[in-house]
Amino acid sequence: MMIHLAMATGFLLILIGFYGALSNRNLLRMIVAFTIADSGVNLVIVAIGYMPGRTAPILDATVKAGDAAARVIDPVPQALVLTAIVIGVGVTALMLAYAYKLYEKKRSLDIAKFTELRG
């Protein structure tokens, strides 16, 4: 149940992020909205790998190599979420830079002002 709650929260974050990106015309707010959505995605990913009653996928004194398969949770989503996070950061940085440059050009952060290309 916990896990469904976590997952649902993740999805909710995504939807909130999307809504923010769709309803805010300010570039920076859009970027923030996307980071919220990204967090939601990451939460969902982690939730997918979770298995009730198991421990982190690190071998140590308590988790021996032999019985690891029965004791640890799925390590794959954890590995993937790392990548997802990093990529999210990269994109966010990039968007910030673009937003800055766009602002420099038009002194405005309103997305509706940047519609020279159309049709």
Partner: protein, 232 residues
């Protein structure tokens, strides 16, 4: 208003998809085939105590190389975007001093932060953490420095050299895996050692070190580039 309504409608539909996903989700009782393989074989094959690290660096090493490249790209492009059509700003705005507390605090904390960062990536194969986390920690040190003195200039050349060299070595190690072991990014051309020891898991600590340096450098470059926009 119409736009928001439409957005809500669309998101409701998408939310429907998501809801179905959530409701249809059943956590596995057993590890699936792939995960079981990792759980069973990592210790023997890779020698890394941290399964996630084994996956990140070896099994899915290509992803990680790509990931590093994403940051590399982001940093490079950030530089390009900000350099685009830049006017040479000579007269910089004077900023109000940040205060004693921050200045002194940073002097104390920055070396510690750096040290922690290094610890995190060097021990990536043993404990939670690794190159990315460590790199991020290092970058947070840089951030602290920037907060203290927003106009601070870093040795761009040095950072860039660290970043590039780390990248080149990373690729080179990957190739050594190809030549000396089972395939590209195979960590086993170095001895696996004992599970749980610092010098174990073949090339993983080296790779994580390189990643840590690289990520740290990249984040630093990004932060410093972005901080330059303060000059506007």
């Amino acid at each position: 208003m119409v736009k928001r309504l439409l957005a809500l409608l669309l998101l409701a539909a998408i939310g429907g998809i998501f809801t179905t996903l959530v409701l249809g989700y059943m956590p596995d009782a057993e590890l699936n085939n792939t995960a079981r393989y990792y759980a069973d074989h990592t210790a023997a094959d890779i020698g890394s105590a941290n399964l996630v690290t084994a996956i990140v660096i070896t099994y899915r090493g290509l992803d990680t190389l790509g990931e590093v490249t994403v940051l590399f790209l982001a940093a490079a492009i950030l530089g390009l975007v900000l350099a685009r059509g830049r006017r040479q700003v000579q007269a910089r705005r004077e900023l109000t001093p940040v205060g004693e507390l921050l200045t002194t605090g940073s002097r104390v904390l920055v070396p510690l932060i750096m040290l922690l960062g290094v610890y995190v990536f060097v021990n990536g194969h043993l404990t939670p953490g690794g190159g990315f986390q460590g790199g991020a920690v290092i970058a947070s040190g840089v951030l602290l420095l920037l907060l203290t003195d927003p106009l601070r200039q870093f040795a761009h050349t040095l950072i860039a050299a660290v970043e590039s060299l780390a990248g080149v070595f990373y690729v080179a190690i990957g190739l050594m895996g190809l030549f000396l072991a089972g395939g590209f990014l195979d960590n086993r051309f170095l001895p696996i050692g004992t599970l749980g020891a610092l010098f174990s898991a073949g090339a993983i600590p080296i790779i994580y070190t390189l990643i840590g340096l690289k990520v740290g450098a990249e984040f630093s470059v990004m932060l410093s580039d972005l901080s330059d926009t303060e000059a506007l």
